[in-house]
């Protein structure tokens, strides 16, 4: 065993009470970090999952239609040139050459999946009941890799033929339909088609569950009078929080409008960032308190052990090894504290998840304690121990052995 480690362990063992208190203090700090990170991480993941459960990371659409102005000098003599330009109403339009664009997007290293979608307004009619809906024509096989709607089916399956439709659970309840029932869809230009309900999904978003009707891509194109076209290309990206950067790059490259989930949910993102900042601030103060705690104990230890340090120096121990003795003590205190803290943090998180539940017994706060969090917390504690030991260790290394030996 290296001599510095040997001496450090003996010093820690000698001051059992102080060592135990520091380990407990580090443990409490690590517990707070683990629990807080797990709680906030879980909450944020849950919010993101809920938000992205109904939308793609990036949606690429054709540019908005803008009015084409007549030049005043080109206008016939009897033409009145409008002084006010009105924005035209946007209609369902296809991305020109969408198959080529889709290949380009799929080739981007940040993009993992691309799926074509045609969407537009319509009505769902059953008997005398009529509901305003949002019709989406999708390719189910690729769409579920962008929006995991297949996980949210409460009955049946997604449409796999032209005559089938999957609808939201609220819509199914409003119209009184179940899987296997017939449903008539009407586009805003009046064309209609009859579909069999193949599945019912619940995404947990009332707006979506009340209005979404999923058809196959071809059925959607036909109903929305966009044969051969798609109104958007929806993407999943590899790095969730790089979506905005990726969208900007793709928009510039394709000349289309690319909008990320971060752009469409900017308020949510601000809230998440504020939450993360608050959490980091709390953790920083905890780390600071732990650092001061370890440092103060080691400073006292250096004062108490001046004579021992002098004896070790007299016996030929170098300044560097004396420094190492105190660095090892800091590291060991941090490591033992991290073991205690991680165990306590995981236990508290699990207890919290079990204790705080809703009426159905499901956890009210999703908490996820994962290995990277545990490793980060442990590394933080050990680093904190080492950093806290730096000043006391340097002070110990600087002691004059002749003076230290005579210290009473």
């Amino acid at each position: 065993m290296p001599i510095a480690v040997f001496i450090a362990l003996q010093f820690l063992r000698e001051g059992k009470t102080a060592s135990s208190l520091v380990i407990a203090a580090v443990g409490v700090g690590v517990t707070v970090i683990v629990f807080l990170s797990a709680l906030i991480g879980g909450l944020q993941q849950s919010l993101i999952d809920k938000t992205l459960g109904t939308q793609a990371h990036v949606v690429v659409r054709p540019p908005e239609e803008v009015p084409r102005l007549l030049r005043a000098d080109d206008a016939p003599a009897d033409t009145i040139v409008a002084s006010r330009v009105q924005r035209p109403a946007q209609r369902v339009r296809s991305i020109v050459g969408w198959q080529r664009t889709m290949v380009e997007l799929a080739a981007d290293p940040e993009v993992s999946v691309v799926t074509p979608v045609v969407s537009g307004p319509g009505f769902a009619v059953r008997g005398t009941a009529s509901k305003s809906v949002n019709v989406l024509g999708i390719e189910p096989s690729s769409y579920v890799r962008v929006v995991a709607i297949d996980d949210r089916l409460v009955a049946g399956r997604l449409p796999d033929s032209g005559a089938e439709a999957a609808i939201g659970s609220e819509l199914a309840a409003d119209l009184g339909v179940e899987v296997g029932d017939k449903l008539r869809l009407q586009a805003d230009d009046g064309r209609t088609a009859l579909f069999t309900v193949s599945g019912v999904f619940r995404l947990g978003n009332r707006e979506v569950d009340e209005r979404w009707v999923l058809l196959t891509l071809r059925s959607g194109q036909t109903l929305l009078d966009l044969v051969g076209g798609v109104s958007s290309l929806e993407l999943r990206v590899r790095e969730l929080f790089d979506a905005e950067t990726t969208a900007l790059r793709l928009g510039a490259a394709t000349g289309l409008v690319a909008q990320s989930w971060m752009n469409t949910n900017s308020e949510l993102l601000t809230a998440l960032r504020s939450q993360s900042a608050s959490s980091l601030l709390i953790q920083a103060f905890v780390v600071l308190a732990v650092t001061i705690g370890i440092a103060s104990v080691l400073v006292v230890s250096v004062v108490q052990k001046r004579r021992e340090i002098g004896i070790l120096r007299a016996m030929g121990m170098s300044r560097g090894r004396i420094v190492l003795v105190f660095m090892v003590q800091g590291g060991v205190l941090g490591m033992l504290g991290s073991i205690v803290g991680v165990a306590a943090g995981v236990a508290v998180a699990m207890a919290f998840r079990g204790a705080v539940v809703d009426a159905r017994g499901a956890p009210l706060f999703p908490i996820s304690v994962e290995l990277p969090l545990i490793l980060t917390a442990a590394a933080t504690a050990i680093t904190t121990g080492l950093v806290a030991a730096v000043l006391p260790a340097i002070r110990a290394g600087r002691l004059d052995p002749a003076v230290a030996i005579r210290h009473d």
């Binding site: 003996q10 004896i311 070790l312 016996m315 030929g316 002749a402």
Partner: protein
């Protein structure tokens, strides 16, 4: 002339910067292998300062200090520390053992510090050292549980474990009763007779000094007498 373990020529030691106090002046001293020397002198005569210089814990302000033929002025701090570890053994008045360690752990320290690691061989050597001072059966006890005399014997075993050419003993019997002091002194004397290790013993006891081979008397920072004792 035999080889000098340590040699001081014209050594001076001052303390303070604004107000300089000269503690040692013109010290010429040569200690050879196997010598058993007493350093005596009244309190404040500079014995501790001289001991710090001889123990390489401090450097002279002026003059030459050679250990095993090496001028310490040519050594940096790390080299001086390493030389101290190899060449000097210390026995202090209050034994200065590490209370966190057992007797055997205290004794093995000089070997472990020299090698950078604690090994089983060091423990074996330390046990042998404790056996030599009659404490093998107390090897794994904390030194705080040993009597004053036993603690001093552990300190002697520690000082001698790596066979240093020079052992400095700062009033090694000053804190012991007469009988125990006599035992400890005889222990040091017997190691000196069995080896070529030189011993320099600081003592206030004229009786003990008279049992050494040589007495060096220090007064007001100067060596006023350096005489051999015929037994």
């Amino acid at each position: 002339m035999t080889d000098a373990v340590i040699e001081l020529r014209g050594v001076t030691k001052d303390f303070g910067e604004d107000v300089v106090t000269r503690v040692l002046e013109g010290i010429d001293l040569r200690i050879e292998a196997g010598e058993f020397t007493a350093l005596v002198g009244p309190s404040g005569s500079g014995k501790s300062t001289l001991l710090n210089l001889l123990g390489l814990l401090d450097r002279p302000t002026a003059g030459i200090l050679r250990v095993l033929g090496r001028d310490i002025a040519e050594l940096d701090d790390a080299e001086l520390t390493a030389l101290r570890g190899r060449s000097i053994g210390f026995v202090f008045q209050f034994h200065h053992l590490l209370p966190a360690l057992t007797a055997v752990q205290n004794v093995l320290l000089p070997l472990a510090i020299g090698d950078g690691h604690v090994t089983a061989a060091h423990r074996e050597a330390a046990l042998e050292g404790l056996r030599a001072v009659g404490l093998a059966d107390r090897a794994d006890e904390r030194t705080t549980r040993l009597s004053g005399g036993q603690q001093q014997r552990v300190a002697i075993a520690r000082a001698l474990i790596n066979r240093p050419p020079l052992v400095l003993a700062d009033e090694p019997t000053g804190n012991l009763d007469t009988a125990t002091a006599d035992e400890v002194f005889e222990l040091l004397r017997s190691f000196n007779r069995r080896s070529k290790m030189a011993f320099l013993i600081v003592t206030h006891s004229p009786e003990l000094a008279a049992r050494c081979d040589r007495i060096v008397t220090l007064v007001d920072g100067r060596i006023v007498e350096d005489r051999a004792i015929e037994h």
